[in-house]
């Protein structure tokens, strides 16, 4: 039984941690908001002045903005599609009993622990390079023209790289969910004459839906801010074919040295991420209540 007194004491005890965390979030956010209303370019010191929504108008009217927005959504959508479908299939595979199961599982998880910059560089130089890359070599073996991945299909190439990193994550969560599936249900359905496809679509998929929801939510949060892979491979190019919102904000702030517009872009990105999150919650939140 906590008394009024001890509850107040508890609040005072945890307040330093809470206040610190709050500052951790509020100060950068506040500064970003402040800068976004300021005309502030690093190359022109002493020109800072209050401009109201000028930076926002400028950022939103940038021809690169709509491209970046579409690219962001395509990237998130593409990676989600690949990881959820691929993860489900891999999880089904790893759920079987076979020799060396433990080792294979550990190997499957490994890509998730490779740093994004490292995996992107390996992909860029060892796989996707049109002259020395493995993919070009394979194409050569079959007598095909090698694809210059990063300049012809930049966004798809980056989607594949990011998918490679996130596939283990999806696999791991879905595999855990699969293992909690009641074997008796499967056996009962077999007795009733359900084929493997019916079993998959009517029993396994509904069972996995909640785990799938978690995968989609967590991945979306991380994928909206993909940056390292783009920076080390295509630099947002060619043109702005692989520029997403995060990269556009970086380009404004650190390539054009326009801190004001960069900050405005950051605020726009926060708002958009929240809109996406709300829609996601609406669409699949039902699964979580069940």
């Amino acid at each position: 039984m906590a008394t009024e007194h001890s509850r107040a004491a508890a609040r005072i005890m945890i307040s330093p941690a809470v206040i610190l965390l709050l500052l951790w979030m509020i100060v950068p956010l506040g500064m970003t908001l402040y800068f976004s209303f300021l005309r502030f370019n690093l190359l022109m010191p002493g020109m800072e002045e209050w401009t109201g929504f000028e930076n926002y108008r400028y950022f939103l009217s940038d021809p690169a903005f709509s491209t970046a927005l579409i690219n962001t959504l395509l990237l998130v959508g593409g990676v989600l599609l690949i990881t959820v479908i691929g993860g489900t299939l891999l999880a089904l595979l790893l759920d079987q009993d076979f020799f060396g199961q433990g080792v294979v599982r550990i190997l499957t998880i490994a890509p998730f622990f490779v740093m994004p910059t490292v995996s992107a560089l390996v992909f860029k130089n060892m796989f996707m390079n049109p002259v020395n890359g493995l993919f070009a070599h394979i194409a050569g073996v079959f007598g095909m023209e090698p694809i210059d991945w990063l300049s012809q299909i930049p966004l798809l190439s980056i989607t594949l790289m990011v998918s490679w990193t996130w596939l283990p994550f999806a696999t791991l969560i879905l595999l855990t969910a699969l293992q909690s599936l009641d074997r008796e249900q499967i056996e009962a359905s077999e007795m009733d004459g359900a084929g493997p496809f019916s079993r998959f679509f009517y029993i396994i998929v509904p069972h996995l839906s909640r785990a799938g929801t978690v995968v989609i939510l967590i991945e979306t949060i991380f994928l909206l801010s993909v940056f390292a892979e783009i920076l080390v491979t295509t630099n947002g190019g060619p043109g702005n074919a692989s520029t997403n919102l995060t990269y556009l904000v970086y380009a404004e702030s650190l390539l054009r040295f326009d801190v004001g517009t960069g900050a405005a872009g950051g605020v726009v990105a926060i708002i958009l991420a929240n809109i996406v999150a709300i829609f996601l919650m609406r669409m699949i939140g039902k699964n979580l209540d069940a």
Binding site: L43, P63, N129, P130, P238
Partner: protein, 441 residues
């Protein structure tokens, strides 16, 4: 110096003492670009260490685009990370006017600032005061393979036109053998592909802005420039050219994969160096091409310079280093260690009057002529409101040039055609100039 840095230095010094090494009084952090001459300089710093045992050097070596971004951010925010910066002649006057650089007055005995080529020194001075010391200077010229030209029956004139270049590229291309007629920059960046394309546009009689600072990408001259550039690269250039910058093209040329390469004169000593280049004995040189009827050879002038930010905490040590790296003695040191042709070119009159250098560097005369032919006050034959060379000397040019460079790189990668590229370049540039307030004047 910040408190954190101080305690770090203290810790470092304590560790150095503990391990029995002598603690050095000052540490200079030097930001530099990963070009061959700079890498060579790092290899020769033992000489500096013997002359200045009390100064330790720390190098931060970065790729050109990244270096610019880091250095600009650091200097604009007063970060004070670096004691010596490697910057181009584009930044020097702009930054000097912002009071971001330490004036290089009172250089050590024997530095002889009057020996610096007037064209180069002029670009590094504001009101007669030198703000940066040139490490090497360059213009641009054509480097071509004499053996391939001979085999193809091409006779390259000393002052080729773009028509000659196209004919030569066509004749030299042999994709079966992996030889591409022409290698040009395609990597986006105002100092990468835009340096070349802007110089090319100068030689086509195009200009960036008219007298009212309106972008001119919708002009027929620009259309001709970009059309011919893409035409050359798509028909006779190497694959994946949209990610080739100076260093990538250098290595392609050294491996014998390019018939011609039009780029900085500084590359000449690398392509004729038998240790690195497989084609060292068969390189010829010609002046930057012009278009028939346009008397303009691109007007490319660039120097990489060492400057000292105003935020440094060791100005005297920094000055000592800058003087060492850009002195006649350093040139002599390089000549002694690696031969005269490796000497940093394009900065000092005395080098070009040196008989040994003339004998060893077949490109010396063409380099000097190219540099002397540049007029930075008049890069284009049309009326213009700016000065510059293969760049426009306004602070906004970094951002605009990089954005336009991205667009042209995309055109090279086949993502858009000439008209689309020029239209978006026009829109982007007008937008940026609007925002910077050039059109309200």
């Amino acid at each position: 110096m910040t408190f954190k840095a101080k305690s770090l230095y203290g810790a470092c010094a304590a560790m150095a003492l503990a391990t029995g090494a002598s603690a050095q009084d000052t540490t200079l952090t030097i930001a530099t670009v990963n070009n061959g001459d700079m890498i060579r300089m790092q290899g020769l710093t033992a000489d500096f260490a013997t002359k200045h045992p009390d100064i330790a050097l720390e190098w931060v070596t970065l790729e050109e685009n990244v270096l610019r971004q880091r250095v600009t951010t650091d200097i604009a925010t007063g970060g004070g990370q670096y004691d010596v910066l490697t910057i181009g002649n584009y930044e020097v006057p702009i930054w000097a006017r912002q009071d971001w650089l330490t004036p290089l007055e009172g250089m050590p005995e024997g530095y002889d600032a009057d020996d610096i080529l007037p064209a180069i020194a002029g670009g590094l001075s504001v009101d007669g005061t030198l703000y940066a010391a040139p490490f090497y200077g360059e213009s641009a010229m054509v480097m071509y393979r004499t053996d391939l030209a001979e085999a193809a029956g091409i006779d390259m004139p000393d002052q080729p036109t773009w028509t000659d270049i196209k004919a030569a590229a066509e004749a030299m291309t042999d994709e079966e053998a992996g030889i591409y007629g022409i290698c040009l920059r395609g990597k986006p960046g105002w100092g990468e592909n835009m340096a070349f394309i802007t110089a090319m546009s100068n030689s086509y009689g195009a200009r960036w802005f008219d007298g009212d600072w309106n972008a001119q990408f919708d002009s027929p001259e620009w259309n001709a420039t970009l059309t011919d550039y893409l035409d050359l690269m798509n028909n006779y250039g190497p694959p994946g050219a949209s990610s080739n910058g100076f260093n990538e093209n250098l290595s392609l040329f050294q491996q014998g994969k390019c018939g011609m390469w039009i780029d900085a004169t500084v590359a000449a000593s690398f392509v004729t160096d038998a240790d690195d280049s497989t084609v060292a004995d068969s390189v010829g040189f010609a002046q930057f091409p012009n278009k028939e009827g346009v008397d303009n050879h691109g007007n490319w002038l660039w120097s990489w310079n060492l400057a000292i930010p105003a935020s440094t905490d060791a100005p005297d040590a920094a000055k000592a280093f800058v003087a060492w790296a850009t002195s006649k003695d350093y040139t002599a040191l390089v000549a002694q260690e690696e031969g005269w042709s490796a000497a940093p070119p394009g900065t000092r009159t005395s080098l070009y009057e040196n008989v040994d250098y003339q004998a060893e560097a077949p490109f010396a005369e063409m380099t000097l002529n190219s540099i002397n032919a540049v007029d930075t006050t008049k890069p284009s034959v049309q009326e213009i409101p700016y000065t510059g060379a293969q760049f426009v000397a306004i602070p906004e040019f970094q951002g605009i040039g990089t954005a336009v460079g991205q667009i042209f790189s995309a055109a090279l990668a086949g993502q858009m055609d000439v008209d689309q590229a020029l239209q978006s370049a026009q829109q982007q540039t007008q937008r940026e100039m609007d925002r910077a307030g050039y059109h309200d004047k």
